[in-house]
């Protein structure tokens, strides 16, 4: 598609400059896209492993918990859970990956997990809680990974659109317009030349 630009020498120069910039931008974005893609593929395997492991562990932990809560009176379970002195503190920072802010979490845990009497609770409860406690840090990892994945995925989409717009729309139309202006200019030049020759002929013929 030809751009709507008057075919003058001035515009030709400007277009050539624009074309060069577009090409440079395109190359940069393409590199960025490749890098994002590499990162996302790296992440995918990690996420799959973490998620499957967590699902497995969580199911086991819930299993123990259901056993436990069916063996004791519901109130005892509630009390046991509320009695925890555990405090989980999460601090977060962000890390830059290309132009994205990727979250990083770290946790500090204080307090005791099991701070209830052993009389009214079943042993399965201890098992369940221990398991779930271990899971928390894995869940944090998962949160980090999945968020990174989402951010990367959105960025890839955006970058791809830009790359494609440059590659298939802007650069071709600039090229086409440059060609058009070149043709137009040489056509004008030829016209001038023949006019000049004709005029000279008329002058000489006098």
């Amino acid at each position: 598609m030809k751009l709507d630009i008057p075919p003058t020498r001035m515009q030709l120069l400007r277009l050539k400059r624009r074309g060069a910039i577009a090409r440079r931008g395109h190359k940069l974005l393409k590199d960025k896209q490749d890098e994002l893609m590499r990162k996302i593929l790296e992440l995918v395997n990690k996420i799959r492993e973490t998620r499957l492991k967590i699902e497995d562990d969580l199911r086991k932990a819930f299993g123990y918990f259901y056993f436990a809560s069916s063996k004791q009176i519901p109130k005892a379970t509630d009390e046991a859970l509320l009695a925890t002195t555990k405090i989980i503190e999460i601090s977060y920072t962000t890390e830059r990956v290309l132009n994205l802010q990727i979250p990083r979490f770290s946790k500090s845990i204080s307090g005791r997990l099991i701070s209830y009497g052993f009389l009214s609770t079943s042993g399965d409860l201890d098992l369940a809680l221990l398991k779930i406690d271990q899971l928390i840090s894995q869940l944090l990892d998962l949160a980090e990974l999945e968020k990174t994945l989402e951010l990367l995925a959105t960025e890839i989409e955006k970058t791809r659109r830009r790359v494609n717009a440059l590659e298939y729309i802007l650069i071709p139309s600039i090229d086409e317009t440059i060609k058009f202006i070149n043709l137009k200019l040489s056509e004008i030049e030829r016209g001038d030349l023949t006019r000049l020759m004709r005029v000279k002929e008329i002058v000489r013929g006098k």
């Binding site: 593929l41 699902e55 819930f62 918990f65 979250p103 779930i132 994945l149 995925a153 989409e157």
Partner: protein, 107 residues
């Protein structure tokens, strides 16, 4: 940041055990999850885990916060049988980005 940076949302029976870990636990029933999540985000909670059964309800909220660094909204399995919703979600994200299904499951 204080301990309230981490919250877990789900039905009471499912997420009760998380109480013992010191995380903030919010019980919701079907239909209440959107409001609960929005409230938590307003409070400044950075990581919110929710059980898979709410994934469809929270669809819009998830889309809204997708491009932001915080909060992280992460689905966790319920432990009641295997629902593949969370995995499917990830797979969708990857498919859209990469253009191919690279998140194949080994079987």
């Amino acid at each position: 940041m204080s301990g309230s940076a981490l919250a877990i949302i789900g039905e009471k029976e499912t997420i009760m055990p998380f109480l013992a870990t010191g995380a903030k636990v919010v019980y919701v029933k079907k239909g209440e999850s959107v409001k609960a999540v929005e409230d938590l985000i307003k409070e400044g909670v950075k990581i919110i885990f929710f059980t898979e059964e709410f994934i469809n309800e929270l669809h819009e909220v998830l889309a809204k916060y997708r491009t932001e660094t915080f909060p992280c909204l992460i689905p966790i399995p319920t432990g009641r049988g295997k629902t593949k919703l969370a995995i499917e979600r990830i797979r969708g994200v990857i498919k859209k980005a990469v253009g191919a299904d690279v998140f194949l499951e080994e079987k």
